[in-house]
Symmetry: C2
């Protein structure tokens, strides 16, 4: 009688040209949600989306339809099942339509449905996070989020990297990487009596743990949630976010930068190839330069420049920065953007930062002043990825930790990796949500996470 099809399948048939003969028309059954329904008395049109594809299918129904009076009242948001003739419409705005022969209601939609046709602000849509995946921007971003996740896994797995689920709950207080959430079952802060018999935190990084796995599997990566209990309400910070942290053994900073460059380019190719409709949408509705911007990055050689060179260039710049430039400072966004937008005009790795402004595990360079770190800066956003070669020398690492006033007890296992066949190794951290923002032009991290968590904000 008819074939059950998805809207994605119908578009694939049309785009592949395998259904060009008008007389090969057939009856199909679709199930999905009404995006719009307009009826002129004798003739009605429903834009149907079934969740499988960014674009809708157009359903056409006529007065002759048995339950026409019912169908013309199907509200926006309702779930329906329809059977109809699949007809190519090469002259029309959409490549095909479904001429409805049967329609039935699967789930009605109350008249107070918040996603009526009118446009809503992103701020408003955050308050209905359970419904917003149905709004175009979020329908695009959350499929892209899934596609980009797969890009990451394929990129690493194709090269033999081992995926490691580093722990979320950790006894390590993060060594100053930022404020942390505690995980507890008690109300009285008596941690000795607590679930783990000691204070427990939500991880800020899987790096230290994954280094242990790099010493067994050579090339490894994490991809999982991380947390920051920082009370900062910016458009780039969420309390919960997903991180990717690869770690490669027998590798130095140069190898690390090559890997970062390959990964970023792979991700750009992947989303353009696997989510073309969504990327077209972002390019039209969110950021008009989006595809051009990332394509340019795709085709660039990522430059490399030392921090010291960058400071010199900043000192020579005839621009007045808000923050005074001097060697030893942490670069601000204005400096980073000047370097990659004005000087390089493309992606650039800054390398070899002063050790005072970088983490304890980064390898100290021969100058004794800098560490083998790299930050990837990209036009438009500034820092996208941060990496480093790790300190593999036990005594240097120990001295560094002491210098920084760290207690070594809880990290003895980490230091011991250096005593047991520790070798040259490197790695980096990529904020997945920020990569997604970068690729799409979305401006607020709250709008790329399914249910964002930020200070004082824990709806749903």
């Amino acid at each position: 009688m008819f074939e059950f099809m998805t809207i994605r399948e119908l578009y694939e048939i049309v785009m592949s040209g395998s259904h060009v003969e008008q007389d090969s028309m057939e009856y199909v059954q679709l199930q999905g949600w009404v995006r719009t329904n307009r009826c002129s008395g004798k003739l009605g049109f429903i834009e149907l989306n079934d969740g499988t594809y960014f674009r809708n299918a157009q359903l056409v129904y006529l007065q002759e339809l048995k339950n026409f009076a019912e169908v013309e009242k199907y509200p926006t948001g309702a779930a329906i099942t329809v059977t109809g003739k699949f007809v190519l419409t090469p002259q029309g705005k959409q490549p095909f339509e479904i001429q409805v022969t049967e329609a039935s209601l699967e789930g009605d939609c109350d008249r107070d449905y918040p996603l009526q046709k009118k446009r809503h602000s992103f701020e408003y849509l955050r308050e209905i996070a359970h419904l917003r995946p149905r709004a175009n921007s979020f329908y695009a971003i959350f499929r892209l989020r899934s596609v980009l996740s797969m890009a990451i896994h394929e990129f690493f797995q194709d090269q033999g990297f081992v995926y490691v689920h580093t722990p979320i709950i950790t006894g390590n207080d993060g060594e100053g990487a930022g404020e942390m959430f505690k995980a507890t079952t008690r109300d009285d802060a008596d941690y000795e009596q607590d679930f783990f018999g000691k204070e427990a935190f939500l991880t800020v990084t899987g790096q230290l743990h994954v280094e242990a796995f790099a010493m067994a599997f050579r090339d490894v990566y994490t991809f999982g949630p991380a947390f920051r209990a920082e009370n900062s309400n910016t458009s780039r910070h969420a309390s919960e976010f997903w991180m990717i942290e690869p770690e490669i053994a027998f590798a130095d900073l140069e190898d690390d930068m090559n890997l970062i460059e390959d990964m970023v380019k792979y991700c750009i190719d992947y989303v353009l190839e696997n989510a073309p409709e969504e990327m077209k949408f972002f390019n039209t509705m969110i950021d008009k330069s989006c595809i051009e911007r990332i394509t340019k990055v795709r085709n660039s050689d990522f430059k490399r420049m030392t921090y010291t060179e960058a400071i010199d260039l900043l000192l020579q710049a005839d621009v007045k920065f808000d923050n005074k430039v001097e060697w030893g400072m942490d670069l601000n966004s204005e400096h980073e953007r000047y370097i990659c937008e004005k000087i390089v005009d493309g992606p650039v790795f800054l390398t070899d930062y002063p050790k005072e402004i970088k983490a304890f595990y980064m390898r100290v360079n021969d100058d004794g002043k800098t560490v083998a770190a790299c930050d990837l800066l990209v036009p438009g956003v500034g820092e996208l990825v941060g990496g480093s070669q790790r300190e593999e020398r036990y005594d240097v690492l120990e001295a560094r930790m002491k210098d920084m006033g760290m207690t070594t007890d809880s990290l003895q296992w980490y230091m011991d990796l250096r005593r047991y066949g520790g070798c040259k190794h490197a790695g980096f951290g990529l904020g997945f949500d920020r990569l997604l923002m970068y690729l799409t032009g979305m401006q607020n991290i709250r709008d790329v996470e399914p249910f964002p968590r930020t200070p004082k904000n824990l709806l749903f």
Copy 2:
């Protein structure tokens, strides 16, 4: 001069037969860790593993080697770089060897290295979780964990499922799904002053959140960490574990069971195909029936039987169970295993459980007494997957929640999904760690997680 190669690449060359000509020998460079080093005075052998493959490469070195005296002292665990001739040894125990021409030490290994040749108990190895990935069983399990993760992603993505990162921190107290960890930045339990302005928990399930996405994308899945603060020290419970929770719209319990069956079979095929050396290891060293057992499941039709039928069969059984059988009870492991091992002799779905023993969101059957739930039981372990069709009728759901004494306030958004184009849908939950145990025969969940978290145990 030489080519940098991995041990995996060398085995692939040998297995593909593309290097059968003795005169096509070439020089290769390898980097890895010494598993064993034995030297008889003039001739030495190093078993080298570089993390890319389960098997080692055999290195042969002769007295003629410039730094022979040094090389013969390379200890187990040391990281080294070697260059040598790649020679096929079809008569030997291993298919090739590397005749070393140069060797150098990258990272020494202290003499107190705990992973000496002797065999260690799994209990002992848990205390050195940072080193155990280098021990054979863990080297196999953690690569398999990565391979199985990819199997899950490929299975769902190939069918167009959208991957959703449901939140880890939640305001929802889980509605009785078990004890939960709190996420807090305070010591005084003053949650109004806390980071989110209210009590916050670590998620026990992403299902409720992912249902919202199924109503936009039709087919969706989660794959992420979940938590239970239960003070139970069993071999099958960890406080932190990874869960897979697919959700499918326009689908009923039958569709759900078909999806579960397909997924389990896909995973079995995938690990046998993509981790053959590791699976061979488990079959030899961990569970002698492992491959036969899962191959049998692979080739079975998964039976389906109602809970009520199962109770009848248990009542008729001439076996004395420790727990008395009666309709309405929750089945114990002894009952589940009797059904799938003695009665069915293969995987079986039990369906339509009494509503009193199942969760509030499961769809009430027409009999008013049972719900459209399914548990997949497999020989050897009992329950592997639990799923259900969800209650899509607002009034039925609301009545059920009231019956169970639940407050509906914090779940109004979830109930509202039923008012706004809610349709028939279903889903399931799979404990990833338990699937891994099932596929490998590993007996303790602590031995399949990189850094397991259990009561009073938060090392590393």
